[in-house]
């Protein structure tokens, strides 16, 4: 039923530049699942770094551009909870595009959310014999509610886990602090450098203590931060975006 829909891939700007494989994996994965996906070449940064630094009012240009670029698609899918949350919650409202903007909030999805809630993909079959620790990004988890938050009294759920848990040989590792922030936080990573590093180290230590082999996540920004610390300290954990894992196992 989604064959006829036009799906746009929305990539965080740093993913385009540093992690092209994540973009490629996302597009291939969606195609394998029968979707027609295109990548609007005009897209730019969504404006999140500026907005979170206190300059939301100066992102009118990027927000307007975003609407123009994506408004005609049926769905907009991004391998990033954080950017999707920004578009939904922190884009300034754009005069003259109120209808398009409102409509867009219902058709933009983070990747795992799109797979589970729109495509209704069940547990994926395949083999992935690894111990996987999953880093739920805070914006994905507490912003888009992609998984249950440990603070709330709600039944446990995790859209990424739903997709991965059927894989043969995959061991989903539970962490001691299951959803603490990694300390990336955008501009926080440099303005509060000492804290950011400590949080990242603590998060990594939790994964390592629990013998995680592959640290997976839905937001490359968090992974980039932890990978940066991990690689500086030569501690050998591998990092993967969930799109890469899913694309690898689906033939």
């Amino acid at each position: 039923m989604h064959q006829n829909k036009n799906i746009a891939l929305f990539l965080p700007c740093y993913v385009d530049q540093f992690y092209p494989n994540v973009g490629i994996a996302t597009i291939q994965l969606l195609e394998k699942l029968g979707c027609k996906v295109s990548f609007p070449m005009d897209q730019t940064c969504c404006g999140q770094p500026m907005a979170n630094a206190g300059y939301e009012r100066d992102t009118v240009g990027t927000a307007k551009h975003f609407i123009k670029t994506f408004k005609d698609f049926d769905y907009i899918v991004a391998p990033s909870g954080s950017c999707v949350l920004h578009v939904k919650e922190h884009s300034p409202s754009i005069q003259g595009f109120e209808t398009e903007q409102a409509a867009m909030h219902h058709k933009i999805f983070e990747l795992t959310e799109f797979l589970v809630d729109v495509l209704r993909v069940g547990p994926i079959k395949g083999s992935y014999p690894h111990k996987v620790g999953f880093h739920s990004s805070c914006h994905g988890q507490r912003g888009l509610r992609l998984s249950a938050s440990s603070e709330l009294n709600e039944p446990p759920f995790n859209k990424a886990k739903q997709l991965l848990e059927g894989l043969e040989g995959l061991e989903w590792v539970e962490l001691d602090r299951k959803d603490e922030c990694c300390g990336f936080g955008g501009t926080f990573a440099v303005t509060e450098e000492a804290l950011s590093i400590q949080m990242g180290k603590d998060r990594l230590a939790d994964h390592q203590k629990n013998n995680v082999e592959i640290l997976a996540g839905g937001d490359m920004s968090c992974l980039m931060h932890m990978q940066g610390i991990s690689s500086r300290n030569n501690n050998g954990v591998k990092f993967k975006h969930i799109a890469e894992i899913l694309n690898e196992v689906i033939r």
Binding site: P12, C13, Y14, V15, D16, Q17, F18, Y19, P20, V22, G23, F39, M41, D42, T44, C45, G47, P49, M50, A53, G54, Y55, E56, R57, D58, T59, T62, H65, H90, C138, R142, G143, S149, E151, N153, E180, C181, G183, F184, G185, G186, T187, F188, A189, V190, T191, E192, E193, A194, L195, S196, I197, Q198, S221, M224, H225, Q227, G228, I229, R232
Partner: protein, 453 residues
């Protein structure tokens, strides 16, 4: 020093920072366990939040109702528009009673008013009777946490302080021994005080009563022995009805310490025979905050401290790193309303992870307000200081590698749409303790052009 500088200093002592983080996480964990034993937990939070919505939207009426009922019950009611007036009112009551020494149970509001310093300047000896508060008072420090005032100190440090002040055995670190020493020391103070001061957890408009919650029993030890009880209360602590106490008392201790309820929840309706109760109702910027549509929800706070215990920043930087009376996430949304310039780094002392909003028993959207304060601070930066902190924070944007290392057309495209006020600076901070991602041979766009177009 601003927050990042103080946080960096705090983190220098790695072992202590780790201990601080783990100690507070332990409290957060207890809160998680106990809150999950209540099936209706989320419904309770929602109900509490809605009650507070009602309170804030009708505050003037409730204050008048509270005053009327309290007066009818024989309580004396005072109104203070700011800290100065509050302190004068308290001093005046003390002078009328010829009182030179008071015992005081924990009240963050009196910290906000710097009441202790004021009274001491005017010749009144103030003894904080909450154990944690007494400990920090011995050190001339403010509380570092609103519920656990001495959470930053280890027992060996407390032992040294008590050896010095209370003549306990040197090197005896046993918390029971130390607590008992404080018990004996403070009991003398309780027995001697003519006036006792407390904060207020809830004031009930319908009945004119107010409720004070403690675990140690120190508030009650003070007020029932003294002739005069002075209760200091922020105007936002009003709730409409007695039945609403059921909602808040179910949430408060569970959120604060993971207990099902505080040990002592005292309901004061009228003074005992021959005694006096005074209530001081304080504004001190609260009506101002009520007028700020985006921030007024911060007044729902019941001071449980759960947002501090859960905050990954607070746990790793300590209460003093905030430089505000109320530290942590809730402090970071309350303090800028009081002094925007002084506290302009606080809304940036967050990753906006949202954990604070999810633990908050009255569902204050704390992390969203942090985001909104950032917007206000950058707007106000010319008026607060041309080369303000906020600007430095904003400039940090492009020192994150994904932003500054980009030579690709996408970022250039974005940059055209962005203000030039945001400049490239501070570029090396990312790489101090983190490697940069490797730059791949081709960007996604290059790949897409080659393979898909």
């Amino acid at each position: 020093m601003n927050h990042p500088e103080k946080a960096a200093v705090f983190l220098e002592d790695k072992e202590n920072a780790k201990w601080h983080d783990e100690t507070l996480w332990f409290v957060r964990d207890k809160r998680d366990v106990v809150s999950k034993s209540i099936p209706e937990w989320e419904e309770l939070r929602e109900t509490a939040s809605q009650i507070k919505d009602n309170v804030l939207s009708n505050l003037d009426e409730y204050l008048v109702e509270f005053e009327r009922n309290a007066l009818a019950n024989g309580i004396k009611v005072h109104w203070a528009k700011d800290a100065e007036e509050h302190n004068k009112i308290v001093l005046n009551i003390l002078q009328q009673n010829d009182c030179k020494a008071i015992v005081k149970s924990k009240s963050i509001l009196t910290e906000e008013c710097h009441l202790n310093q004021y009274l001491e300047k005017n010749g009144v000896d103030v003894v904080d009777t909450d154990l944690g508060e007494r400990i920090v008072q011995f050190l001339n420090q403010p509380p570092s946490h609103i519920v656990l005032p001495a959470i930053h100190l280890k027992k060996a440090q407390v032992s040294d302080i008590f050896h010095d002040k209370l003549n306990t055995e040197k090197g005896n670190h046993d918390p029971s021994y130390l607590t008992n020493a404080a018990r004996l020391h403070l009991r003398e103070k309780f027995l001697a005080a003519k006036v006792a001061l407390t904060g207020v957890n809830f004031g009930v408009a319908e009945t004119g009563e107010f409720v004070v919650c403690t675990n140690e029993g120190n508030a009650d030890m003070g007020v029932h022995l003294a002739d005069v009880h002075v209760a200091c209360m922020g105007i936002e602590k009003i709730i409409p009805k007695r039945e609403h106490l059921g909602v808040f008392l179910r949430l408060l201790a569970r959120s604060a310490t993971g207990q099902s309820v505080t040990n002592y929840n005292s309901h004061f309706r009228s003074p005992a025979k021959g005694k006096e109760i005074h209530i001081v109702l304080l504004d001190n910027g609260r009506t101002e905050q009520l007028g700020r549509e985006k921030f007024k929800n911060s007044l729902k706070c019941i001071r449980c401290g759960a947002c501090m215990n859960t905050c990954p920043i607070y746990r790793r930087s300590g209460g003093y790193s905030y430089g505000s009376v109320v530290p942590g996430p809730i402090g970071s949304i309350l303090s800028p309303g009081i002094d925007l310039k002084k506290h302009s780094s606080l809304p940036f002392a967050s990753t906006l992870c949202g954990s604070c909003s999810d633990v908050c028993p009255v569902k204050i959207n704390i992390h969203e307000q942090l985001y909104e304060w950032r917007q206000e601070i950058t707007k106000a930066q010319t008026s607060i200081n041309a080369k303000s902190l906020a600007m430095k924070f904003a400039n940090g944007i492009f020192s994150v590698p994904f932003a500054y290392k980009l030579g690709g057309s996408m970022m250039r495209g974005a940059l055209k749409l962005l203000p030039h006020s945001i400049t490239y600076s501070n570029l090396n901070t990312w790489g101090k303790e983190r490697d940069l991602p490797e730059v791949p041979k081709e960007s996604f766009k290059d790949w897409y052009k080659k393979n898909k177009l």
